[in-house]
């Protein structure tokens, strides 16, 4: 057996390895250094340790201990060097601060988002969505809804006609009648859709816009249910601190009729709060018995309530949009702001 001095070998190995670590210029070469000296099967330290069998038994603990120390020192040097190399100083290293490879982001129209948010609340309150035609008859748009054409109330929605008794619906309320005709109580629906008015474009009017109708018909439905459900909706939509006010009004197809107003508490970025004015959010009321009778139901047996609201107006209030026309211009820089 040759004269071997494992302790000296280990010391030499440590020196050599430390130098190699220092001279490694990137993570690949550092990894090579690690494999060369500490690799499990081919590494130089492992080779020395395999030679331990030839070391006299009494010296083995000393050599083993020394080997562990050397291993720890080399490992430590490797770690330190690794930290230094994370900074992309080397030419062929990756700079992870470079931008990622993106894909286009799309988004829903803000009025769709308002409709969806409103729909999700009503869905939770047991409502389903119903539809009806956008071009409808005078009967469904006016007469069935207790609005004779020779009454001033018919003026308030200046209507666009297609042929004599066919018009573009001026509100989503025709869906009330169509849903009642096609179903049996209990009815709990909302009906989002386009409506049309003989208006010119300005900051708060467009000749076509979205509306959401709501209708509940069943036995035992009262003004208290009406108030409770819409107040619940308003608080869920506008926030739990929102005050809700029901103000008497007039719609030919509801009686009693009410406008619903909300007053919101808004928290500024600095944490202070302020109260808004009363904001009008919908028209509503108990369904007029004539409407219930026109649907073929017994108004003595069935009662109900209904509402109509404009998600465009609500989106304006919610997002600080000053001009309703912005929603129809569809500038992608506007739409992007809602792509969340």
């Amino acid at each position: 057996m040759s004269e071997s001095n494992p302790i000296a070998d280990l010391r030499a190995l440590e020196e050599e390895a430390t130098a190699a670590v220092k001279s490694a210029q990137n993570r690949e070469s550092l990894e090579e250094v690690r494999v060369t000296y500490l690799g499990r099967s081919e590494g130089r330290l492992s080779a020395i340790l395999r030679g331990l069998a030839q070391v006299p038994v009494e010296r083995r603990p000393e050599v083993g201990k020394s080997a562990n120390t050397v291993k720890a020192k080399i490992s430590r040097a490797l770690e330190m060097r690794q930290l230094e190399l994370v900074a992309p100083s080397a030419e062929n290293e990756v700079d992870l601060t470079m931008p990622g490879r993106p894909r286009w982001r799309g988004g829903l129209h803000p009025i769709t988002q308002a409709v969806d948010e409103i729909w999700h609340i009503f869905r939770d309150l047991g409502f389903a969505r119903a539809r009806g035609p956008e071009a409808d008859t005078v009967w469904y748009n006016f007469e069935a809804l207790n609005t004779p054409l020779d009454h001033p109330a018919a003026d308030e929605q200046d209507t666009l006609y297609l042929v004599d008794s066919v018009l573009l619906r001026s509100h989503t309320s025709p869906v009330q009648m169509r849903t009642m005709e096609a179903n049996e109580p209990p009815i709990r629906i909302i009906a989002p859709g386009w409506v049309y008015r003989r208006d010119t474009y300005d900051a708060t009017h467009t000749p076509a816009f979205m509306q959401i109708e709501g209708l509940v018909i069943d036995e035992g439905i009262t003004f208290v249910d009406f108030k409770a459900t819409l107040a619940e909706f308003a608080r869920r939509y506008w926030g739990p601190d929102t005050q809700v006010r029901f103000r008497p009004s007039y719609f030919p197809f509801t009686e009693p009729s009410a406008e619903v107003d909300v007053k919101r508490i808004i928290t500024r970025p600095d944490g202070t709060q302020y109260e808004t004015e009363w904001l009008e959010i919908m028209g509503s009321g108990m369904v007029d018995p004539n409407v219930i009778a026109n649907a073929g139901y017994d108004p003595e047996r069935y009662t109900g309530w209904a509402f109509g609201m404009g998600p465009g107006r609500i989106a304006m209030l919610k997002h600080g949009v000053q001009d309703l026309r912005t929603f129809f211009e569809n500038d992608v820089r506007f739409l992007e702001q809602f792509a969340r």
Partner: protein, 803 residues
């Protein structure tokens, strides 16, 4: 309706508060206030000035130099008015005052004479059109006092929004009734200064009533239930006293003269339209209420307009010609003027629907027609007439001639409505006691006349006879006066809806999510379009630019792309879900079809340092079409390049069609032609797709899972030379038919044209993946399959493998 806050305070004993508080009361009674203005707005700087002495300006014929007492001192003011009376009071704008129109008064020298302010005309103060002279104030005034306080312009005008059912609220008394609860619970008409309360006599009759040679006759009692006329002789027409002018101004009205102002006062106070005729202009001694005759085709109203009238229209006539359009406007031929001495006052009840039809046909609306359409109090005519007579007598003098003529062929009878306490509870959700219901209704003029077994008999006052005819109408009054806010709002149990969520909404929800995932923005555009883009025409469009309803969404999306590009947005990816309209049967509603459309232009991916920018191409569009179409119409949907009708917007050589499993073409997609679009020169190709959606989509087949493979697959690549007549689809179909049951997948992975292959021939590379569900396939077996494929391709299509 413009309402004077001061007038309301005078009508409702005990009512106090700022205009904002009155507005809040009204809002909660169903008559919200849209705005509050002041008739004296902007005139706070104006004071009363008394002219001590006026003399001719030494250097100007048309100017006068006045010594004016401004309360503190006597100042010199130069004035251009033709008449300035010594001792009279005028509105004075002192130095530093700002007049309407931001006109600041400065000390000045006019033709050598110093002027310390300005004496104002009505026009300069925004109080009228009269600028012929300065505004002489009639009555007792103290120099130096505030002008608006002195003349009663320290009022507030509330713009009250009155709903179409509440004609009774188109008067101060009507509004006051709703406010009574905020005061002492009653209303009281203010006294007319210098008025008398002498009882007035009547002569009644129908259809004609006559006294001392003058008669009133109603020929159409359906359109006019009642006509009351009164003759006053010897009036002197002049400006109204200050209090009356201030009242009118407070209610947003312009004073005219004492007679006209008296009629307007009654209209504003009681809601009863009144009219005054110059009696000397009437031919004969009769007023006849009849329809216009055939010959009477035109009529000049007192606004100077000549209007076409028809035989449907009710007219007020003298013995020869019409002198007023009933309920709408008086005639130019009988208007009260400065020279008028004798007048006929009219107080009548015209039919709401006929008045509405007439004023619509004439294309006009007046204070009178607005009230008649909504219904005036059929029980209030006499008190309105008496109020008006007292006003005229006190402000214009004269004498009432004989009794008042009251022609009343259809007397008004008030009605009663039965009100069940049980029904109130059923509708409103809380019980109401009979006594409390009576208390709620009484201040509004409803009288509970009796009660049997929980059923109240309620008498309806005349002014509510139009909108309160049913039990539910009374229940609304109960709820309204109880206060909507006083009902609980606790959410009770509810039964589940019998209506299912409409499947088209659910399909739209899914498509929206998918398209947003593809990086598209949803847009909303109105359905109106120009001629040529739809066949459903709007009869009464407001503009003629877009009088049709669109049959396709594509042009709307293209316009949005143009809009965006005009603003420098070059990457535009949009989609819309909307309705397509097509002509229906004659007299029928149009056919409506739900549609989805998309449009793509610009870069297919956002710019990134790792790649070159690439524009959208047909292949991006086609992949989108395949994805969307198969989600809507199922996996059996195919995309064809022939068989459909290419929309004019698209290039017919770059157009593909969506065909459902049952063979119907339901959509198309392709490149928008340059001719169809108006885009900047830098714009790239624009790609669009439109798909009809099922009106009532079915849920679609349930997914049945294919077991995952247990044996390895073998892949083979095949580069094929396709002659110009052979399509990739034909090759794919041939391969599928001939490759045997173990062909698991087939894809095109390369296309090569150029050196090494003949002109016109394409080298298309296919990758075939074979896998058996029973065993690991041997190479020999796969080779056999490939030979079969190649043999069939050569025989059927003349396609060979590339050597």
């Amino acid at each position: 309706m413009n309402v004077s806050a001061q007038w309301l305070i005078d009508l409702v004993p005990g009512l106090t508060g700022k205009p904002e508080e009155i507005s809040e009361h009204l809002a909660l009674r169903g008559a919200p206030v849209d705005g509050i203005t002041s008739p004296g707005g902007g005139l706070g700087d104006i004071i009363i000035g008394r002219v001590i002495r006026a003399r001719q300006h030494p250097n100007a014929d048309r100017l006068r130099v006045c010594e004016v007492d401004n309360g503190a001192e006597i100042v010199q003011i130069v004035c251009g008015a033709p008449v300035v009376r010594d001792g009279a009071c005028y509105p004075l704008a002192p130095i530093g005052a700002i007049l309407p129109g931001d006109f600041k008064i400065k000390k000045s020298k006019i033709r050598g004479e110093v002027s310390h302010g300005m004496l104002c005309s009505a026009k300069e103060l925004g109080l009228g059109d009269d600028h012929s002279g300065i505004m002489e104030l009639v009555g007792d005034f103290t120099p130096g006092e505030s002008f608006i306080n002195s003349v009663g312009l320290n009022d507030f005008t509330l713009d009250v929004e009155v709903t179409a059912n509440r004609g009774d609220l188109l008067s101060h008394v009507g509004i006051a009734r709703e406010l009574a609860a905020a005061g002492e619970g009653r209303i009281e008409l203010p006294e007319i200064p210098d008025g008398s309360d002498l009882p007035l006599g009547y002569q009644t009759g129908a259809p004609e009533v006559e006294h001392t040679g003058f008669s009133v006759r109603i020929e159409d009692e359906n359109l006019c239930h009642r006509y009351i006329g009164a003759v006053i002789r010897g009036v002197s027409v002049k400006p109204s006293p200050g209090w009356l002018q201030a009242r009118l101004r407070g209610a947003g009205a312009r004073p005219v003269n004492n007679v006209v102002d008296a009629t307007n006062y009654v209209l504003l106070e009681l809601g009863q339209p009144m009219h005054a005729f110059d009696l000397s202009e009437l031919r004969g001694q009769s007023v006849i209420v009849r329809r216009a005759s055939q010959k009477e085709a035109e009529f000049k109203t007192l606004d100077g307009e000549t209007r076409s009238i028809s035989t449907d229209m009710l007219m007020i006539c003298d013995e020869e010609v019409p002198v007023a359009i009933a309920g709408v406007m008086g005639g130019n031929n009988s208007e009260v003027s400065d020279r008028t001495v004798d007048i006929l006052l009219e107080c009548a009840l015209f039919d709401p629907k006929a008045t509405r039809a007439t004023r619509r046909e004439l294309g006009m609306s007046t204070d009178a027609s607005y009230r008649y359409e909504r219904g005036v109090d059929p029980d209030g005519l006499r008190s309105a007439m008496e109020r008006c007579i007292h006003l005229v007598l006190s402000t214009a003098g004269g004498e009432l001639e004989g009794p008042i003529l009251d022609c009343n062929p259809v007397p008004f009878e008030s009605s009663t409505v039965e009100l069940r306490l049980s029904r109130i509870e059923k509708l409103l959700g809380i019980p109401f006691e009979a006594g409390y219901v009576g208390e709620l209704l009484a201040p509004l003029g409803f009288i509970v006349e009796g009660q049997t077994d929980g059923v109240l008999r309620v008498r309806v006052p005349g002014f509510r006879s139009y909108d309160v005819t049913r039990e539910v109408d009374l229940i609304e009054e109960v709820a309204r006066t109880h206060g909507f806010d006083n009902f609980p709002d606790t959410l009770g149990p509810q039964r589940a809806s019998s209506v299912s969520d409409h499947p088209l909404f659910q399909l739209e929800d899914r498509l929206r999510a998918v398209l947003v995932g593809h990086g598209l923005f949803e847009v909303q555009t109105p359905a109106f379009c120009p001629e040529g883009e739809g066949d459903v025409e709007v009869l009464n469009p407001l503009t003629t630019v877009e009088p049709f309803l669109r049959s396709s969404l594509m042009p709307s999306l293209l316009r949005r792309v143009e809009y965006n590009m005009a603003r420098g947005n070059r990457d535009v990816r949009l989609f819309e879900l909307g309705t397509s309209f097509h002509k229906g049967g004659s007299g029928e509603p149009p056919l409506e079809e739900p549609h989805l459309a998309t449009i793509l232009t610009g870069r297919r991916e956002p710019p990134h340092w790792s790649r070159e920018d690439e524009e959208f191409s047909m292949w991006d569009l086609k992949a989108l079409v395949v994805d969307i179409a198969s989600r809507v119409y199922g996996e059996e949907t195919t995309i064809d390049s022939v068989g459909g009708k290419c929309p004019t917007l698209l290039d017919e050589n770059m157009c593909i069609y969506v065909r459902t499993g049952s063979g119907d073409i339901v959509g198309c997609a392709g490149r928008v032609t340059d001719e169809a679009s108006d885009l900047p020169v830098w714009a790239g190709d624009v790609w669009s797709f439109e798909l009809a959606l099922p009106r009532n989509p079915s849920k679609g087949a349930e997914v049945v899972v294919t077991p995952l493979p247990q044996f390895p697959a073998s892949e083979r690549d095949l580069a094929l030379l396709l002659p110009p007549t052979v399509t990739s689809r034909e090759v794919s179909e041939s391969i599928r038919r001939s490759a045997g049951p173990d062909l698991e997948a087939l894809e095109v992975f390369d296309l090569y044209v150029g050196e090494g292959i003949p002109e016109g021939v394409r080298s298309v590379a296919f990758r075939l993946r074979f896998r058996s569900i029973k065993k690991t396939l041997k190479d020999k077996q796969v080779d056999k399959n490939m030979s079969a494929v190649l043999k069939r391709l050569e025989e059927d299509l003349g396609v060979e493998a590339r050597g």
